[in-house]
Symmetry: D2
Subunit: 288 residues, 4 copies
Amino acid sequence: MRKTIQLGPGLQIGGDSFVVMAGPCAVETRELLDQVADAVAAAGAGVLRGGAFKPRTSPKSFQGLGLPGLELLAAASARTGLPVVTEVMDPRDVEMVARHAAILQVGSRNMQNFPLLREVGRQPKPVLLKRGAAATLDELLHAADYIRQEGNEHVMLCERGVRGFDPSTRYLLDLAAVPALRGRTDLPIVVDPSHGTGRRELVAPMAKAALVAGADALLIEVHGAPERALCDGDQALRPADFAVLTAELRRLVALCGRRWSRPETTGRVASVPGPHVPGSLDDEVVAP
Amino acid sequence: MRKTIQLGPGLQIGGDSFVVMAGPCAVETRELLDQVADAVAAAGAGVLRGGAFKPRTSPKSFQGLGLPGLELLAAASARTGLPVVTEVMDPRDVEMVARHAAILQVGSRNMQNFPLLREVGRQPKPVLLKRGAAATLDELLHAADYIRQEGNEHVMLCERGVRGFDPSTRYLLDLAAVPALRGRTDLPIVVDPSHGTGRRELVAPMAKAALVAGADALLIEVHGAPERALCDGDQALRPADFAVLTAELRRLVALCGRRWSRPETTGRVASVPGPHVPGSLDDEVVAP
Amino acid sequence: MRKTIQLGPGLQIGGDSFVVMAGPCAVETRELLDQVADAVAAAGAGVLRGGAFKPRTSPKSFQGLGLPGLELLAAASARTGLPVVTEVMDPRDVEMVARHAAILQVGSRNMQNFPLLREVGRQPKPVLLKRGAAATLDELLHAADYIRQEGNEHVMLCERGVRGFDPSTRYLLDLAAVPALRGRTDLPIVVDPSHGTGRRELVAPMAKAALVAGADALLIEVHGAPERALCDGDQALRPADFAVLTAELRRLVALCGRRWSRPETTGRVASVPGPHVPGSLDDEVVAP
Amino acid sequence: MRKTIQLGPGLQIGGDSFVVMAGPCAVETRELLDQVADAVAAAGAGVLRGGAFKPRTSPKSFQGLGLPGLELLAAASARTGLPVVTEVMDPRDVEMVARHAAILQVGSRNMQNFPLLREVGRQPKPVLLKRGAAATLDELLHAADYIRQEGNEHVMLCERGVRGFDPSTRYLLDLAAVPALRGRTDLPIVVDPSHGTGRRELVAPMAKAALVAGADALLIEVHGAPERALCDGDQALRPADFAVLTAELRRLVALCGRRWSRPETTGRVASVPGPHVPGSLDDEVVAP
C-alpha cells in the first residue's frame, strides 16, 4: 500500500488519489493571484501553487514578494479553500513559510542544500522535494532521507526535468523516473510539466502522460496573462486551457482507476461568476 | 491533416490510427519467432518487428542471422498477416531487405549515416527512422530530409531515448519530443519504450504515456523467454504481459479518439490455440 | 589586466600568478591533517584545502567534523603558513567559517543557493565558487553576480566537472570552460581535477592540462592514506605523487610565463624531516 | 611500450612522437587547399587533413567535392610531402578513398556504422576513428575492435567532443578521455579541438592542453579565409595563428619529452615564399 499524505477533508496525495496543484509561477499582485486561484479552484485543482521567494538565475530578475507574497497566498487559500504549496529557499525562513503554507517546496537548485533539507525535516508540514537538474534517482532518494531522518516522513518527490542538450525544450522531462521511483519508494510522486518542458504547448500532453505513467500529482503553472508574467510566462497555461486540461485529466483519472482529489470545501467557488468552461467541476463525470 | 502511411487493408500509420509494432529484438530461431509473432498478432499488434542485422556494441556479440533471418521474418509475416519492420544497416543491403520487409528501419546509430539514408530514400518502402542518442529534433528532421530528398516521403520518426546520466535507466526517453515533433512535422511519430528505458517493468507505463502524449505508433520488444534472449532480454515483455498492455492501450486509444489499426486479415490468427489472455482481440471493446 | 586577489605576502591568485590549493577532502584527525598540510606545503602548495562541513549525498555518510574541524584547519594554517580554503554550506555558518578560513568555498551543489551566495557576499573574505554539475557558464557568472552585488568582488570561479554519461569518470571535466570564461570575465579561474575526474590516475594529466589551458589555480585532494579516507579516497593523491606533480607543474608554469605563487613565510616547512622529493621547493627552477 | 603507426620516413604516430594534422574542414578549391597545405606544412604539420565527403546535418548544405576533392588532396600531398587524412562515409567508397589518402577517417556520426568499420578494417591504410558524440569509452574501444577484428591493427582513437548542455561551446571536449584511454589501450590517441569546441579562440588553449594531457596527435582546422568557408568557418584557425600555435606546441613537446614528428621530405616547403612566422621550422628549438 502506497503512502498517502492527508491535507484535510477530501484531499490526500498518494494512494489512489490524483491531485492537481496549480497557480502562478510567482505571486505578483493580489488581483492576479485571486483571479488565477479562483480559476484553478473552479477547474478542480486541489492545491494552489505560487512563489513568494523565487530562485532566479540572475540577481537582477524579479526575486518574489517575500513575506507579503506569503500573506497573499494565505488569503487566496482562505478564499478558495485550497491549501498552498510554496517554495522556501533559506533555512532561516522555514518557520515563517510553514506558518503560511500547507506544503513547503524545496526547489530543484536546493535538492542538495542539506541544511535546508534538515530544517524542513524538523517542522511538521509536508515537503515537496524537486529533483535537481543533474540528480540521479539515487541522489533524489538520499535527499529525501535527509528530511525523513529529522522526523518528517511527509515527503513528495517531484520530477521537473533534467538538463538536456536539445534547445527545443527548456529541460528534458524524465517521465520514466515516475515508474522507476514507484518501484523504489512509497513516497508520492509529483510531476511538473511546466518547468519540465518550458513550453506552454507541451504542458497538456506531458501532464496527461505523467498521470498515465503513474504520477500521484501534477504541478502546473497558470497565469491570467502569461505574456506579461514577471517569471516564466512561456510555460504558463491560460485559465481556459487549464480547464480543458483538467477535464481531459479527469477522464484519464477515471480510466486509470484513480480518484480525483480536492478539498471538500472547495465546491463553493464553483459559483464564482465567470464563463462556463468545459471540465469545470459542475460537469458530470462519467467513467468509461 | 496529418500524413498517413498506408500499409495494406485496415492498416495505416498516422492520422487518427494507432499501431503497435511488436516482436523480438533479434530473430533467433523459427520456433521462437513464430511463437512471438502469433502471440503479438493475437494481442492486436499491427506490425511484426524483428532484427536480422543487429548493430551490436561489441563485434563479439550475436550479430543477427542476416538473410536467413529476413526469410524467417517473411515467413512469419505470411503466417500472421502482419507486415514486418526490420533494420537495415548497410546501403548495399537495402534492396535485399526491401524485398523481405514492409518497413525499413534505420537505427539510432545510423541516424546520420547519410549514404544509408539516401539509399532507403531511393526505394519505395516506408522508412522508420530512429533518433540518435545525442540528436536534437532539428537533426532528426534534417536526417528525414535526406530520405525525402531522394523521393521517399514515407518516413516515420522514432523517439527511442537519448543518452542520460542516470544509470537507473538504459536511455532517457524524451517523451516531450512527441508533442514537440507534432508541432513541427506531419510525419508519423513512433516511440520505442523498450530501448528507451531498457527495463521491462518501465515499458508498459511509458508505452501508455507515449500514446497519451500523441504518438502514432509504438515499437515494443516481446520475447517468449527473455531470460534466454540473445539480445536485450532485460527490456523484452513476455507475451502475456504484452497482451495485458495492449488491452490497456486499447482503452486509452478509445478515450483519445483514435482508432486501433491492424491488418484486416489478421483476425484469423486469433484462433491460434492458446490460453485466453485479457485484451486479446476476442474481447469486446467499448469506448468510454 | 586580469583581476588578482591578494592573500598575504607572496601569495596572490589571478594575474600572472599560479597557485596550487591542496589538502584532504575532509578533515579527519589532527594527525592526518598535519601530515598532509606539511607535505603539501613542502611541495609548494600556496593554499591548504580541507572540509569541515561536508555535503554528502547520503545523510548516513560522514558529514565532517564541523567547528572542531575548522579549528584543526586554523591550527594547520598557523603551523604551515598556508591560508585555508574550506566549504560553507549554511548561511548561518558564514560568520563562523569566515573567522577560521582565508577563503570560503561555495560548493557545486550550492552554486544556486542564493541566500548563501548573498551571505558570503556580505563578509570580506574571498569566495571560491564552484560550478554546478549542470550549470552553464552563464549561470555560473550570474551566481557570481549574487555575491558581487552584496559588495564582495573577490570571487574565484571553479570548474569541477559537469554531469556526463560515461561511468568511466565521476564527472566530465569541462576544461574548455577555462578559456571560455577567460574571454568573458576577469575573475580568477580555478580547476578541481580531483572531483572533476574522480580517479587518482587522471588528476595529474588534467591538472597540467588545466594550467596550460589558462587556469589561475588548482584545487587538489591529497591524503596520506587514500585507501582509508572517510571521503572520496579514490581521487586523492598520495603526498609523494603530489610532489611529483608540483614539480611538473612548476616547469610548465615557467614555460607559460607565469609565476608560482605561495606565501613568503612558508619556506620554513621545507625543513620538515622527510625524504627529498623531486619538485620540492629546494630544487632550483630554471625557466626554459 | 605504446603502439606506433609508421607513415613514412620521419613520420610516426604514437610512442614518443607528437604529430599535428591540419588543413581545411572541406576541400573547396585547388587554390584554397594549396594555400592552406603550404602554410600548415611550413608551420610543421605532419599530416594534411581535408574533407572530400562531408557529413552535413542538412542535405542542403555543401556535401563536399567527392572524387575531385580526393584528387586535389592527393595533389596537395605530392606538393607538400604531407600524407593525407580524409573521411570516408560509405563502405562502397572505401577502396577509392584508400587509393587517394594515407589515413582513412571514420567520423563521429559513423562510429557505430559497423559495415563501414568492417570495410576499413579490410584495407591496409591506418584508420582514424572519431568518438561518437554520445559514446562511452567502452563503446569507442568496441568500435575499434570491429576494425581490428578484420585484420587492421592501425587504428587511432580521436576525442572530438561529446554532446553537452551549454550552448557556449559546440561540443564538450572530454580531455580526461585522453589519460583514461591511455590506461586502457595502446592505440594512439588524437584530439580534435576544432570540432571539440567549435570556437576559434578556444582551439589553441585546448590543443596545448590535449598535448599535456597525453595526446599523441591533434587534428586542427585551418582555413585561409574562415569567414568565407563553406563549412565550419567559426572553428578554423587562420594560417598565421596556426603557426603561432605550432611554435607553442613545439616548446611543450620538448618539455614533455616527446618528439615532433613530420615527414623528412617536408623541409623543402619551408622555402615557399611568404612572411616569416614565429614557430616555423626554420626557428631553432631549444628544449628547456
